[in-house]
Amino acid sequence: MDEILDRWSSQARKGYFEMLLLARLKAGRAYGYQIVAALKQAPGFENLAEGTVYPVLTRMKKDGLVTAEWVADDTGPPRKYYTVTELGDRTLDAMHGIWRRMDEVLLAQPAKEAS
């Protein structure tokens, strides 16, 4: 069963990825390292290879879901801050809608069987 769960979990993580990134950025603009730190709090993402976040952020930027700008920092190298766009905000809301409907369907199954 572990192997089946691992496979399912791996597929599910790919689906959550952009949603989690958008959710983090909706809370406020953030740079890559902060985004990764937030992502690692989510179940299944604890051992995330941190570098995998950047190609996804780049794709999201190309899709117009986020914007990015380099900001100089006195204490270290410059940081690239990502901000969610209006399109990204609406996309996250739509993703939440799908998520809620999926949750409702899953919760309704045992109730249907019981009746």
Binding site: A49, W70, G76, P77, P78
Partner: protein, 183 residues
């Protein structure tokens, strides 16, 4: 944007140079500015991570930060590219010549069905060499007989499979030889 990571020990600099080489190879399909951007983001990330890691040795901090970031696969050694080019063009020639032979064998198989008395595999008198003929001369002893068609269909199928394998390895855009040929 040009960014660097200031490192003081030789081991850390070696690790860092190796990582950048791997990163650039992993991003080789990106346009120049995008590759530079990816490199700058990686540098910023590793610098942030090294700053919070509580390991006394710089090289250990870097190693840990790189492991957490994910170390891309190493680029192939430089000698592979010329070898790959030779293999690539050699494979084209082999496939061309072998493909022609397979076509001839298939044509003979077809002709054997239409004219079984003439086409076949023969041994001529006073000669121990097997000879494929479209029109056998007097005194020739035919081998295979009715087995000619299935045998040559089998040989053609095996030859085609071998050519497909060669194409997959040496000519397919996703095959190892094509990957070695990329800059």
């Amino acid at each position: 944007m040009r960014m660097t990571l200031e490192l003081t020990t030789r081991e850390a600099r070696r690790l860092w140079a190796d990582f950048l080489r791997r990163l650039d190879w992993a991003n080789r399909d990106l346009a120049g500015p995008e590759r530079a951007e990816a490199r700058a983001e990686a540098i910023a990330h590793i610098a942030e991570d090294m700053a919070v890691l509580e390991l006394p040795d710089e090289a250990d901090r870097l190693r840990e930060a790189l492991t957490r970031f994910g170390i891309p696969a190493a680029p192939p050694p430089a000698w592979r590219k010329p070898l790959a080019i030779v293999l690539h063009y050699l494979a084209i020639m082999v496939m061309g010549a072998s493909g022609l032979v397979i076509l001839i064998l298939l044509h003979m198989t077809l002709m054997e069905a239409l004219n079984p008395a003439a086409v076949g595999l023969y041994i001529y008198p006073g000669d121990n060499v097997l000879t494929l003929s479209y029109e056998a001369q007097d005194g020739a002893r035919e081998l295979l007989g009715g087995w000619f068609i299935p045998t040559f269909l089998m040989i053609s199928a095996l030859g085609s499979a071998a050519l497909y394998g060669l194409w997959h390895v040496a000519l397919s855009p996703t095959g190892p030889v094509s990957r070695w040929m990329r800059p």
